[in-house]
Amino acid sequence: MWGHLSIKNFWEGKIMSKEKKYSIKKDFSLLALLLIPIAVAINFAGGQLASLLKLPLYLDTIGTIFVAMLCGPWVGGLAGLVTNLVLGIANPIYIPFAIVNITVGLVTGFLARNKGFSTWWRWIISMVLMALASIITAAPIVVLMFGGITSSGTSLITATLMATGTNIWKAVVSTELVFTVIDRVISFGITYLILRVVPARTLIKFSLGENYIKKGKNAAVADTEENVDDDID
């Protein structure tokens, strides 16, 4: 499993690591697989809350971000896809937006793999990147499929902008820009809080969990945990 040049390794290794640390098989451990329903349920709860409170936010990617940061891009993307499929059962309007949620999962996961969250300023850059990716995928769907109006609170603002004569693309992109950024900042904030509180012995069971273990006081605990054989794979 360690660094031999072969097709099998090529498929299993990702992006830049010279020693390939990440493989899809390891990402999709049973624990990760069972985390997907939780991520979807969180997204669901967040989305419901946002529409109940009529907030101009979506809050339906908290779970996706969380799972992507712990288990990598593919698990994150899958969580995103399942979220929108399940939301679609109740209201088929949400199905096209699966693309956005999948993108969030993929981008966050790849950023997490490449130390995108190791320092506070990297968090900010990663957040911005991820928000941009969301907007780039969401705006075309809103404009081309829905003519600028979705059932979210942001559409009222888009409509107001359009009423003042702004071109539809500009109206949608500016609304999306502001509210998506706020939404993602809040989602990332919640994820950060949770990752801080999850115990190290749980974090270690996930592909990318090591990055979030606090160094210092717990370093000794983390070191001994690393030697434990991980049977769950």
Binding site: L34, L35, L55, N91, P92, G148, T202
Partner: protein
């Protein structure tokens, strides 16, 4: 004998169709709706609007109007908004009517934008409607069972089923956690700002407890032999109910007629 008790027997023949047949209906109907959208009478997509009528009729025939009615109403509301926004706010060549408000300013209804809005709105209504019909007439168990017969792995089925259960479980847990936090002094009633401050103290314990439960669930699944390789037997099975041929033939005839119509219009 109790295995038969697990089987869901649907009286309604349409609802009891095999899930894949229903999916074909969804697909063909959507394609036809899109094709009809290009056949316009004086620019208006009349036939697409007419084809939408099939959805509520189908829902009533299937006996799920109560379930599906709410979703259709939501979509209708959204579509109405789309039509209004497009028709009034997006300028195009011709103006149909001009409303004079308080003798102060004019509200114009633009023809091309209205037509575009109608196409968008009814695309959503048709495709969303037929999907709503599909989900309303098919139990999740049935769909997943059918997918598994076609070769979807048990892990995927478990993720899907678990997701649907988990949503309910989490909603119950969130109520418990909210009352626990209330007992500790977190304000959960009041205006929007007060309630948003209660959001984080409710979400974080929820997510945390879910993660720890997941660890136990992994152990449970493994002890039940979930990861064992080999053929799995099923307790609940979906079988075709006999009317599939009629359904498939009808929907294919419908599609063929519409495609021919479109091609003829194009050729002539």
């Amino acid at each position: 004998m109790w295995r038969e008790k697990l089987k869901v027997v649907k009286e309604n023949k349409i609802a009891g169709l095999y899930p894949f047949t229903k999916l074909w209906i969804v697909l063909f109907y959507s394609i036809c709706a899109m094709i009809l959208g290009t056949i316009t009478v004086d620019g208006y997509p009349i036939y697409m609007i007419l084809s939408f009528v099939i959805v509520p009729i189908l829902a009533i025939l299937t006996g799920i109007m109560k379930k599906v009615g709410g979703v259709l109403k939501n979509m209708a509301f959204l579509s109405f908004f789309i039509i209004v926004v497009q028709g009034i706010l997006v300028k195009s060549k011709d103006i149909i009517i001009t409303l004079n408000i308080f003798n102060f300013f004019n509200v114009n209804l633009y023809k091309q934008s209205l037509q575009y809005g109608l196409v968008l709105a009814f695309s959503i209504m048709c495709m969303g409607g037929i999907l709503a019909w599909f989900f309303g007439s098919t139990d999740n168990k049935e769909l997943i069972s059918a997918l598994e017969s076609k070769g979807m792995g048990p892990k995927a089925s478990y993720v899907f089923l678990s997701t649907l259960q988990m949503i309910e479980v989490l909603q119950k847990s969130s109520k418990t956690i909210m009352s626990a936090q209330q007992a500790r002094g977190v304000e959960t009633e009041g205006n929007v700002f007060v309630r948003s401050k209660a959001f984080i103290p409710s979400m974080v314990p929820l997510i945390l407890s879910s993660i720890t439960n997941t660890e136990e669930r992994v152990l449970t699944l493994e002890s039940k032999g979930f990861l064992v390789k080999g053929k799995k037997t099923k307790l609940y099975d979906v079988s075709p109910n006999g009317k599939e041929k009629i359904a498939m033939v009808s929907i294919i005839i419908y599609t063929v007629i519409i495609v021919l119509w479109r091609v003829l219009l194009w050729v002539l």
